[in-house]
Symmetry: C2
Subunit: 378 residues, 2 copies
C-alpha cells in the first residue's frame, strides 16, 4: 500500500474574509487550502477553489470539508467542541484545539481560567437572575457567555430595567464592571504547533458600538511598561491555554495605568489586518505557519507607522465602481476588498497606509476609507 | 432583458507562476480571475478555482476559458494572434492586444519596429542562410524569431560550423552582434488601458545561460543618465507599441555606457518579482490594475534595497520539507513557492529580502535560496 501525500495542507472552517486573506500567504508558501463555506459564493469561496458548501454545526459537512487535510483551522470560533473532538478522533489535528478554543467560545470559561492564572481582568461574576446584577452593582456590562461578537450579546445596564433583553438570551450570562478606560489595545501573538511564539507590536484599536473601525500600529505613546505587560499577558494566555495559531488579546488601557483583558480571539483578528502591508510577516501568514508547525516569520513593522481603517458598509453600494476613485486618490494606500455585498455597517474591506509621519498616514488611510465607505472626502 | 454583471473580471491564458502570482493582488482588489490551464494541477490552477483545462493554441479551449470575462490577459506570449483577433471580434478585450503582443512574439518584428522608432538595439540582421551570418560577421548571436525563452532558441556562433543547429529551427532567424556588456538591466513599466503609465526603478538582472537567477533593485551604482534613458526607452516602447499591462524591457548596459534593448516581455516578468515584497505596488497588482483600466499604484520601493533570488531546481527535490529549514534560517526573508515539481534548473520559486545594507540583503536572500535549491549553506 502506498501513502499518497494529502491533496490539501489545511482545511479552513468558515468562508469569511479571514479565510479569504489566508489564501494569499498560502499561495506564497505553497500550502494548499480547502474550505467549508456557508455558500457557493461567500468571501473565501471566491478564492479557494476546493470548497465544500455546508454548515459548521453539521458533523457530516465538516467531515466532507476537511476530508484529506491533516490540519483543520478556523475563520471563526463557532464550531461545536464535540465536533472538533470527533474530527480529532478521525485523524485530523484541530488548531487551535477544542480545549483551547473553548476559552474564545465561552466568556465564563475564559474569565474563570484567566482569573486562576492571575491574568488581570475587569471585576466579573456569573449571573443567573437580575438581582445578581444588582448585587454586583450598576452600572455594569452584561454579556452572553456564548455567541456574541462585534458588540452583539453585550449590554450596558444602568438599572434593573435594562436587564429584560439580556435575560431573554439563551446563553448563560456574566456581568463585568464598566472599566474607565483610556483606550482599547490589542496584543497579538502567533504560537506554532512546535511551541515557538512570536509577538506583534501592541496596537491601538478604535471602536464604535463594539465594532473596530481603525487600528494604529504600534499604539501611539504607549508606556513601555504597559506594552511589555500586554505582550506578557498574550504570551501567557497562548502558552497556558495551549493556543496554536494566532491569538488576539483585546485589552483595556485603564485610566489608572492597568491593562485588563476584554476578549480573546484564537484566529487572525481585525486588529491584526495592519500586518498584511505593515509587518514583514502578516498575521495570516504566521497563522498558517503556526498551524502547520512551520517556523514563524518576523513580526517587525516595515515602517514606523501603519494605520488600518475598515470599510464598513455605508452610502457606497457599488464598491467595484468606487474602487477606481479610491485607487486614483491614494496610489500608495493598499485596498483590500472582501467580495461581499454592501450592507449597512458590514465589514466589506479595509485599507492600509504606512509611513513615517503618523498624521499623514492617518490622513491617507482615512481618506481612502471614506471614499470607499461614503464616497466623500473626510 | 437584464444584463447580469460578468462572473469574472479577467481571464488569464496560461497556468504558470505568473498567473498564480496574479491571484494574490486579485484577492485584495476584489477582482475575479478565471484561467486557461495546461493541466488540472498546474501552478496557477492550484489557486484559481475557475479554470478550464486546455491548450492556448486551440480556439475552442480559449473561448471556453475566457467565456464570461470581459478582459483577457496572459501568463506567456504564445497565443496565436489570429485567435486573439477572433476573441476580440467576439467581444473580449485582449490586453495586451495582438498588435502589441506580436513584438514580444517575434524578434524580427520587434527589431524592425524598435529600429524605426530609433530605440537603441544591438546591430542586427535577418538571416536566411549561413552565409548571411558570415557576411554579418563572427562572433554573433543567432536567434529564432519565434518561440525562444530562457536561453532557448539562442546560439552563440563563432564560425559557420556553429550554424547547423540554428538553421534546423523551424522559425525565421536573425543575427545580432555580440554586445560587450557590463551587465544586464531590466526596465519595467505598467501602462493602463486609460493610457496612464508608471515606471519601476531599473534593476540589475544577473543571468547564467540565459536564465535569470538574481535581481537587485535598484541596479547598484547605475549612472542616473543611463537610468533615465532606460526608463525613457521603456515608456516609449509601451506607448508606441500600445502595450497595456506590464512591459519589461531587458537591456544590456554596454562597456561604452549605452543601454541597448535585448528582449521585450509584455506581462509580469521574472525581473519584477522583487516588487511583491519590495515595492508599494507589485508588478502583478499593477498588471491587473492596468488591464482592467484601474488607476495604477505607487512603484516606490519599500526599502533602499531588494534582492530576489530564484529557486532553480537543484539537489532539493522535496521543497515542502526544505521550506521548514529555509523559514527557520531566515525569518525575514519572504519565500514564494510555485507548486511545481522540482526538475533540474526549473524555476520552482523565488525568495526576496529587503533592507538598508545591500551586502546583508544579498547574503540573506542567497542563503535562503541556497537552502531551498541545494540544501546547503552558500
Amino acid at each position: 500500500m502506498t501513502h499518497e501525500a494529502p491533496r490539501h495542507d489545511v482545511a479552513v472552517i468558515g468562508g469569511g474574509q479571514l479565510a479569504r486573506m489566508m489564501q494569499q500567504p498560502a499561495i506564497a508558501l505553497g500550502l494548499r487550502l480547502c474550505l467549508l463555506a456557508e455558500g457557493p459564493d461567500v468571501s473565501a469561496a471566491q478564492v479557494i477553489g476546493d470548497h465544500h458548501v455546508g454548515t459548521h454545526t453539521d458533523l457530516d459537512d465538516l467531515r466532507r470539508a476537511v476530508d484529506d487535510a491533516p490540519v483543520v483551522t478556523f475563520d471563526h470560533e463557532h464550531v461545536p467542541p464535540e465536533h472538533l473532538r470527533t474530527l480529532a478522533q478521525e485523524g485530523h489535528v484541530c488548531r487551535p484545539g477544542p480545549d483551547a478554543l473553548i476559552h474564545a467560545q465561552d466568556k465564563l470559561v475564559m474569565r474563570r481560567r484567566l482569573t486562576e492564572l492571575g491574568v488581570p481582568c475587569p471585576r466579573w461574576a456569573e449571573v443567573h437572575e437580575p438581582v445578581d446584577v444588582e448585587a454586583f452593582g450598576f452600572p455594569a456590562i452584561v454579556k452572553t457567555a456564548r455567541g456574541g461578537y462585534d458588540g452583539k450579546g453585550v449590554w450596558k445596564a444602568e438599572s434593573l430595567a435594562d436587564l429584560d433583553e439580556p435575560f431573554r438570551a439563551e446563553s448563560a450570562l456574566l456581568v463585568e464592571e464598566l472599566v474607565p478606560f483610556r483606550r482599547e489595545l490589542s496584543a497579538q501573538v502567533a504560537r506554532s504547533a512546535t511551541g515557538e511564539i512570536v509577538d506583534y507590536p501592541v496596537v491601538e484599536s478604535r471602536q464604535v458600538d463594539g465594532v473596530c473601525f481603525e487600528v494604529v500600529a504600534p499604539a501611539p505613546n504607549l508606556d513601555p511598561a504597559l506594552e511589555a505587560r500586554a505582550r506578557r499577558i498574550a504570551r501567557t494566555v497562548a502558552e497556558e491555554l495551549d493556543v496554536v495559531g494566532m491569538l488576539a488579546v483585546e485589552l483595556f488601557e485603564t485610566e489608572d495605568d492597568q491593562v485588563l483583558v476584554n476578549e480573546l480571539a484564537m484566529r487572525p483578528h481585525n486588529t491584526g489586518h495592519w500586518s498584511i502591508d505593515g509587518a514583514v510577516t502578516s498575521q495570516f501568514e504566521n497563522h498558517l505557519r503556526a498551524v502547520t508547525g512551520l517556523p514563524l516569520g518576523s513580526t517587525t513593522p516595515r515602517q514606523p507607522w501603519t494605520v488600518m481603517v475598515n470599510i464598513l458598509g455605508g452610502a457606497v453600494t457599488e464598491l467595484a465602481a468606487q474602487r477606481e476613485v479610491a485607487l486614483a486618490a491614494q496610489p500608495d494606500v493598499k485596498v483590500h476588498l472582501y467580495g461581499k455585498a454592501v450592507k449597512p455597517g458590514r465589514k466589506v474591506g479595509h485599507v492600509t497606509a504606512v509611513g513615517e509621519d503618523l498624521e499623514d498616514v492617518l490622513r491617507r488611510a482615512r481618506h481612502s476609507a471614506a471614499l470607499l465607505t461614503d464616497g466623500e472626502q473626510p
